[in-house]
Symmetry: C2
Subunit: 183 residues, 2 copies
């Protein structure tokens, strides 16, 4: 059915073009400017294709973030502190990729006043990582959500204030801070 | 000169009406929707008055945040950990006020791709608190900026994910986390 609707171009190629274009527009022109319509034009994809796949800009950005973050890094055989350090450095590297941090801060800004988008962020984006971390750390949902707030919040606040990802020395300080916690 | 331009209404009354209206619109309808033009209409203030005082929405939001946060809480005679705890609880309470957290997350989202707005946020909003904290804690600029990233970032990330301020139990955990640091 999908191939009938979008003849000649496999869905995964369309997704890849849309995700790459969205991050580029967010990076070059800012989150507010990167509308679904501008993404469609810049990616050379029909607007109807975009709106059928992602009914809102929030839904598009959540999938862009999912694609950018991909699977979690391997966590088996690690101590608690090694697990946390791996996750912090992975998150810092992902947020530092062009457009990713800006897309993340932007979607939060929309989510504060959009319950449906918060639900999408929580279930589609955050939940798989949260469950993985709960298992890897033997921690409660509340403990992992707090850890995610601290790590993602710190990295994103730095990006909002400076426009740049956190430098290595401060990422080290963040690793130090959260591995010293005994939740 | 100012009273000639805005006859009959003292500037501080206009500021108060504009700040209160901005927070209310951000709280009720979201950051993106709360444009300078809508604020002018809802506050009953001429658009030219708004644009003369705050040439951009970012400039308006920075002043709204400055007004909402006000002076820092008293820090004299406190230990290092008491100082940090006071600041964390003060920031948590301010960010929990209706519209304040949403305005904060929103302005960061714009600032990521707007160097002039970042400069305004850093110098007009953040710098006075940073200098005060450096003196109160005997800490370096880098240490205080990192502390601010952790505290404000964590509180704002929670608001972006849940749409609600952080509950007391998690604010306690945040106090615990940052007072255990030995920068």
């Amino acid at each position: 059915v999908e191939s009938f609707k979008t003849p000649g171009r496999p869905r995964r190629d369309i997704d890849a073009a849309v995700f790459e274009t969205t991050l580029r527009l967010v990076h070059e022109r800012g989150y507010a400017t990167a509308t679904s319509e501008r993404v469609a034009v810049a990616a050379g994809v029909a607007k109807t294709t975009i709106y059928r796949r992602w009914p809102t800009k929030g839904a598009l950005i959540v999938d862009v973030l999912l694609d950018a973050f991909g699977g979690a890094p391997p966590l088996t055989g690690k101590t608690r502190d090694e697990t946390i350090e791996t996750v912090v450095r992975w998150a810092a590297a992902k947020i530092a990729e062009p457009g990713v941090g800006a897309a993340f801060v932007g979607v939060f800004s929309d989510a504060v006043s959009d319950a449906a988008l918060r639900e999408l962020l929580a279930t589609r984006f955050q939940e798989p990582y949260r469950i993985l971390l709960q298992e890897a750390l033997g921690a409660s949902e509340q403990q992992v959500l707090f850890l995610v707030d601290v790590v993602a919040g710190t990295l994103l606040h730095r990006m909002g204030i400076t426009g740049e990802p956190m430098v290595d020395e401060d990422v080290d300080a963040l690793v130090d801070l959260v591995t010293r916690t005994r939740g």
